[in-house]
């Protein structure tokens, strides 16, 4: 039982140039957002931990950018790219990372709980694997309401060793729910090479053992990821859960401050040669776009995120009384007695 591998189309003769250009732009914007956010750590503007998705932009864009606005997304602690690709506003996101007014979670969540329900992004999660059962439940509600929306649930390679992976996949398959499970395999789990702590043939085999067909794809090839996602979503919309393994690589440390010395330098160098953004740019050049124009898109993305950084830095702190808002409708959270 091995998962089918969706062949990497590279730049297929008949591909949609404009579409790839848009995907390239989104990947540049995500990269620029992550770089601005990482920079803001040393500037003491981002105070909590962040987990950059640098090197994994093709998964975010290929999966989340392929969803309809009405579709639902459940993400992870490494969710900035997913969230942007689903349509969230990077300024509101940056404000959230800075803990400022205007943040998409009013400064209550930060990076690990980033969410934008307006665009169907139901949250990153600080607990590895916890989003898997939540995603199944979101799709359960969709089924009960007779809607045809889908839920995309992204998680890392380390999450497949958590119990909720088994329980959530079994649930989705037993009830026939509209869920696309996406394992974003970036080789590492924090400082651990995931393969050293993962038994057996891997994520795809585990999904298929639960009856969910799985496809493996080159996660650094945005066109391949998009193609595989589109194909799987057709089944998912009919109540057939599907599983996608996107093979990529975490080009930075686990967090914004992790130098990741545990990775061999050669491995990292080699991985950079597969940078999804460089690959998209190369395809676009082959397809006739000017290198200069493509560089300009990257530069514009940098400017946009630099502006988001400035806006967030200039934003006021949230009113501290908000701390008492949205706890629950009944009961008084204050310590009335003392």
């Amino acid at each position: 039982m091995t998962a089918r591998t969706a062949e990497s189309p590279g730049a297929p003769p008949n591909f949609d140039r404009q579409r790839l250009l848009d995907q390239y732009r989104m990947m540049c914007r995500i990269r620029a957002f992550e770089e601005a956010a990482v920079g803001a750590i040393s500037d003491k503007l981002v105070l909590g931990a962040i987990h950059p998705s640098i090197g994994q932009e093709a998964v975010a864009v290929g999966v989340c950018g392929t969803l309809d606005r009405a579709d639902i997304l459940l993400s992870t602690h490494r969710g900035h790219g997913h969230t942007m690709a689903k349509g969230a506003d990077p300024v509101a996101m940056m404000c959230e990372l800075f803990g400022r007014a205007g943040g998409c979670c009013s400064g209550k969540g930060g990076s690990m709980h980033i969410a934008d329900f307006e665009v169907g992004m139901l949250g990153a999660n600080g607990v590895v694997g916890a989003n898997i059962t939540i995603a199944a439940g979101a799709a359960h509600a969709i089924k009960l309401k007779g809607e045809d929306r889908v839920v995309a649930c992204l998680f890392g390679d380390g999450a497949i060793n958590r119990g909720p992976f088994l329980e959530g996949l079994n649930w989705a398959q037993v009830f026939g729910l509209n869920v696309l499970f996406v394992c974003e395999d970036n080789v590492f789990s924090s400082t651990t090479r995931t393969s050293t702590m993962t038994a057996g043939p891997g994520a795809a085999a585990r999904a298929e053992a639960i009856g969910i067909p799985a496809v493996e794809v080159d996660g650094n090839d945005v066109l391949a990821v998009e193609a595989a996602t589109k194909e799987l979503l057709a089944d998912v919309r009919r109540g057939q859960p599907r599983f996608l393994v996107a093979k990529t690589y975490r080009l930075t440390g686990h967090t914004g401050v992790d130098p990741a010395p545990y990775r061999p330098a050669e491995e990292v160098q080699e991985a950079w040669t597969r940078d999804p953004i460089a690959r998209a740019r190369a395809m676009l050049e082959t397809a006739g776009y000017e290198a200069g124009d493509l560089a300009a898109i990257a530069a514009a993305a940098q400017r946009e995120m630099r502006a988001a950084y400035d806006t967030a830095r200039a934003a006021p702190w949230p009113d501290s009384d908000l701390a008492y808002a949205d706890v629950q409708d009944v009961g008084d959270p204050r310590m009335v007695a003392f």
């Binding site: 916890a130 309401k145 079994n170 409708d329």
Partner: protein
């Protein structure tokens, strides 16, 4: 007023709420056959297997799926079977359900009811007898309901299902067969407003006995005995421990000058400590005797009756404690 058992109140109220609101659904192991205590008996026949849904033995998925389904506009009622098994889904309840509304800055609501039958009946041993309501009262974002009577189960279950936040609804396994008076007709008024409202189960003047869930009945039995001895005990049934009715408890203790808190759970770190501490902090000068608590010793619950009974808070123990308090001269050193 008609009479109804605790379990019939559970069945009927869920059915009524499901009729009035099509977004309400229930999920848990064996529900299609009525559930482990038959509290879902007959419901699948009326509502079908989608709304009275079976589940795999996957507590984490049952609770986690409910969180997602609640965020997406349905009102899941999840059955945990025994509160002990809910310990297989604590991340989902405490890190996810309780915090989602807040963490996301109010973008979502998580209207769900987590039914967790609690408590001792007979010889169920350490993994099928626990009462951990104090845990959930300590968690911001959760509502904790502990009904002692059919009438309260009825109104509080309706309130829990209509509440927009996650509610831990703790029925007591030893009360299923209990019969009681229940108002006729559908639940009226605003049942959500009942969350946090205590009930004076018996009026009295000499001391206030605060309790909830099955322990209320032990308190009532003790009050009966004390009454014959000329000691007038007021019994306050909290009904919900978060929110808990601080005002009602303080008002009662202001009148009686004495507080005895009684619960089945382990006394050490039990919710009785919160009530006793609050009263001691607030009414110190008004107290005619030191506050007191009765709860279980800090030992796991045994299977053999003689050992199991050592953790039970009996009406006799309650009456003895009350006598000591009333006999006790003011400001004496307990």
């Amino acid at each position: 007023m008609g009479r109804m058992t605790y379990i019939d109140a559970a069945r009927q109220t869920l059915a009524e709420e499901m009729r009035r609101d099509p977004t309400v659904w229930a999920v848990g192991e064996d529900l299609g056959r009525g559930g482990v205590f038959t509290q879902y008996k007959g419901l699948v026949e009326e509502f079908g297997p989608d709304r009275i849904s079976d589940a795999p033995i996957s507590e984490a998925a049952i609770l986690g799926a409910a969180v997602g389904a609640a965020m997406m506009g349905t009102r899941p009622v999840v059955e945990m079977r025994f509160s002990d098994f809910a310990l297989c889904a604590v991340d989902e309840l405490v890190n996810q359900a309780a915090k989602a509304r807040y963490m996301f800055g109010g973008q979502s609501r998580v209207p769900m009811v987590v039914r967790e039958p609690i408590g001792m009946w007979r010889s169920s041993a350490a993994q099928h007898s626990q009462s951990l309501e104090a845990w959930y009262a300590h968690i911001p974002g959760l509502v904790v309901v502990t009904p002692a009577t059919p009438a309260d189960l009825r109104v509080l279950l309706a309130g829990a299902i209509r509440c927009d936040d996650p509610v831990v609804f703790m029925e007591h396994k030893d009360l299923w067969a209990l019969e009681g008076e229940v108002p006729d007709g559908p639940v009226g008024g605003d049942p959500i407003a009942e969350l946090g409202r205590a009930r004076i189960a018996r009026a009295g003047t000499d001391l206030t006995v605060v309790s909830w869930s099955a322990a209320v009945h032990g308190a009532m039995a003790a009050a009966e005995t004390l009454g014959k001895e000329g000691i007038s005990a007021e019994v306050v049934d909290l009904r919900t421990i978060w929110p808990w009715d601080r005002e009602a408890v303080l008002a009662s203790v202001r009148r009686t000058g004495r507080l005895l808190v009684v619960h089945e759970a382990v006394a050490a770190g039990g919710f009785g400590a919160e009530i006793a501490a609050t009263v001691a902090e607030t009414l110190h000068g008004d107290l005619r005797a030191p506050v007191r608590r009765l709860g279980a010793p800090r030992i796991p619950i045994s299977y053999a009756p003689p050992l199991e009974d050592r953790v039970r808070v009996t009406p006799e123990a309650i009456a003895t404690a009350a006598r000591g308090m009333v006999g006790q001269p003011e400001a004496a050193n307990g």
